[in-house]
């Protein structure tokens, strides 16, 4: 028994490189050998889906990309899934970016969904307005007059020459607003400066860590549902019936979380054994 306890105490100060190896394995292996765990949509993801479902063909959706490569694994799958849902319903998509790297993320998502999957036409079915610096001021500018913020789109075409920009002058002209956000400026600013003052229906997708911050707005009804991190993306993929990167990443995340919880429990057992011994002597 004493030897076993010795082992537990020693394991408590395990070289962190072993932990790194275990984490690497539990993340990589499920990607190659998927477990196919069923995904259960939460009520907040279902709310986002229901909100988009209410849109009709020809309705206008403003989608904002506020994330970069670092948070791409969490946000990009949900952005792709949402675009799929919107294009499936023939909703016109207007994309704006409050983060400079958001524009590249938007381009990638549009190429995958609008161009390759749904064969949508640029300028008629979707438009990428691009990035502008100014955070909240940009949102306020869009609420007031889009053309004061954007004279040209990301391709350098004048807004007045783009067919789907006819009669679109401010945020109030949109039927739906979605913020794919990984921080500031993002969801909270969209609620405070656009969705609330204008009264436009808004949903969001954020990193898992941001859910805490955004949840009060969801609960108060200012935001119609939230997709939280990669699980949120996987849930949305399951709701629209198109499995993507979110779904395939969930097995890896599931096992990784389970292993981390295992580490925490083992670390605590070791801590207790050590504490008991130190009290004894």
């Amino acid at each position: 028994m004493e030897k076993f306890l010795d082992f537990i105490v020693r394991a408590g100060s395990l070289d962190r490189r072993y932990i790194f190896i275990v984490i690497a394995l539990v993340v990589i292996l499920p990607l190659f050998f998927p477990l196919g765990l069923p995904i259960r949509p939460t009520s907040s993801s279902q709310d986002v889906y229901n909100t988009v479902e209410k849109l009709e063909a020809g309705d206008k959706a403003l989608v904002s990309f506020e994330y970069g490569p670092s948070t791409k694994p969490e946000i990009h799958p949900m952005a792709v899934a949402l675009l799929r849902h919107l294009f499936q319903k023939d909703v016109k998509v207007y994309i704006t970016c409050l983060w400079p790297d958001g524009q590249f993320m938007a381009m990638e998502a549009l190429e995958q969904v609008a161009d390759n999957q749904y064969n949508k036409v640029y300028g008629e079915d979707y438009v990428l307005l691009g990035y502008r610096p100014g955070a909240e001021a940009i949102i306020k500018g869009l609420v007031s007059n889009i053309r004061k913020v954007y004279t040209v789109d990301s391709r350098g075409d004048f807004l007045d020459d783009i067919p789907m920009m006819v009669d679109v002058n401010q945020v109030a002209d949109f039927d739906f607003l979605f913020s794919a956000s990984a921080g500031y400026p993002g969801t909270v600013e969209w609620v405070q400066y656009a969705a609330d003052p204008v009264g436009i229906t808004m949903s969001t997708g954020t990193t898992s860590i941001q859910v805490n911050e955004v949840m009060p707005y969801v609960q108060s009804g200012q935001i119609q549902g939230i997709l939280g991190g990669m699980p949120g993306a996987a849930e949305y993929e399951s709701l629209i019936g198109q499995a993507g990167i979110g779904t395939s990443g969930m097995d890896a995340q599931s096992v990784a979380h389970l292993v981390i919880v295992g580490f925490i429990i083992f670390g605590n057992i070791s801590f207790f054994v050590e504490r008991r011994r130190s009290k004894k002597y």
Binding site: P69, G134, A137, V211, G229, S254, V261
Partner: protein, 342 residues
């Protein structure tokens, strides 16, 4: 003194009051100033701030390199990276397309085209033949240099085709797929950023193993809710039966009984009694994974997100809001003068 002290304070106070009034006073001029002019001023200032930020970054890193301070090679790398992105964005266009409009013999032009688009000659020839008359075929990937594109144009023209070089417009070269800047973003910035963020998983695991300990009541609460959120958010959490959690709860309560009474009989009784109770209830209910719902991890994590979490988040938000309000008033009234260096 007036220019350095009173004037900036007067400007801040005037603009501050005007912006504040914009929310409460229904006056078209003030509204227009707040909604249009002020936001455009902000956009212009934000653009300049980016330049200032970039210059500051260069200055700080350059000082580090010149003085050979600790970690100076990283500073040198930062300057190198900055210079490269700046050059790719502002100096080099890095995006030249080749478009083929005519050809005499498709087979000859296809020989050149095939090597440029990584296809076999037959497929390249088919692409040319399928090209409608009067139309042009643009090679998908642009060339980083003008000379590179010119070279291909020359080869195609020598093979009996008519090709032209077309430079991408300034501005849109940033977002053009395959341009130098775009290449840098996709193949340098993206993997580096993703790698940095992915490392978090390793450090979180290592840190939780070492630091996430039940030292006191607050730490225990944090640990339990952390575990519930971690497992409840992912699909595997849905496979952990509520009955399993119930057994753990029984064991935890028994540990509490042991600590409180320090009596082995009581501890044994609570363990046996609790386990028996749960087992009987399980047999009666037919062991459904998600019942009793209160012990089902996905339901529990939902409850934590929607109740204690929202309560805490709201408290923090209200605190921050009041703080912002107080600070703004100090700025508007000229009490806070840190922005003029006082």
């Amino acid at each position: 003194m007036f220019m350095k002290r009173q004037l900036p304070i007067a400007i801040a106070a005037t603009i501050g009051f005007l912006t504040l009034f914009g929310w409460f006073v229904d006056e078209p001029h003030i509204k227009s100033f707040v909604d249009d002019d002020a936001t455009q001023w902000f956009d212009i200032l934000a653009s300049f701030a980016m330049f200032l930020g970039a210059l500051n970054l260069l200055k700080m890193q350059a000082i580090k390199v010149i003085r050979k301070q600790k970690g100076w090679p990283y500073a040198a790398l930062a300057i190198l990276g900055f210079t490269f992105s700046f050059t790719a964005g502002f100096i080099l266009l890095g995006s030249y397309n080749v478009e083929i409009s005519q050809y005499d013999d498709p087979a000859k032009v296809a020989t050149v085209l095939a090597s440029e688009i990584n296809l076999d000659e037959k497929s390249a020839e088919n692409i040319l033949i399928a090209m409608p008359e009067g139309d042009t075929y643009i090679i998908d990937t642009p060339y980083f240099t003008k000379s590179g594109a010119d070279n291909v144009v020359e080869q195609i023209n020598a093979a009996g085709g008519t090709a032209n070089m077309r430079a991408t417009e300034w501005g849109s070269h940033i977002s053009t797929r395959g341009s130098l800047f775009n290449w840098m973003f996709r193949f340098i910035f993206t993997p580096l950023s993703a790698t940095m963020f992915a490392l978090l998983a390793f450090f979180v695991a290592s840190a939780s193993y070492r630091a996430f300990k039940i030292r006191n009541f607050e730490a225990t609460l944090l640990l339990i809710s952390g575990i519930i959120i971690m497992l409840g958010r992912v699909p595997i959490g849905g496979h952990i039966s509520a009955w399993f959690i119930l057994y753990i709860v029984v064991l935890a309560l028994s540990a509490g009984v042991n600590t409180w009474f320090k009596n082995r009989t009581y501890t044994l009784a609570s363990v046996v009694g609790g386990v028996l109770l749960v087992t009987i209830a399980g047999f009666i209910m037919g062991w459904p994974v998600d019942q009793p719902a209160i012990f089902y991890l996905p339901v529990l994590q939902d409850w934590i997100y929607n109740n204690p979490n929202v309560a805490g988040a709201r408290a923090i938000m209200i605190g921050i809001g009041l703080g912002i309000f107080a600070t703004s008033i100090r700025y508007i009234l000229g009490i806070e003068k840190s922005y003029i260096g006082e």
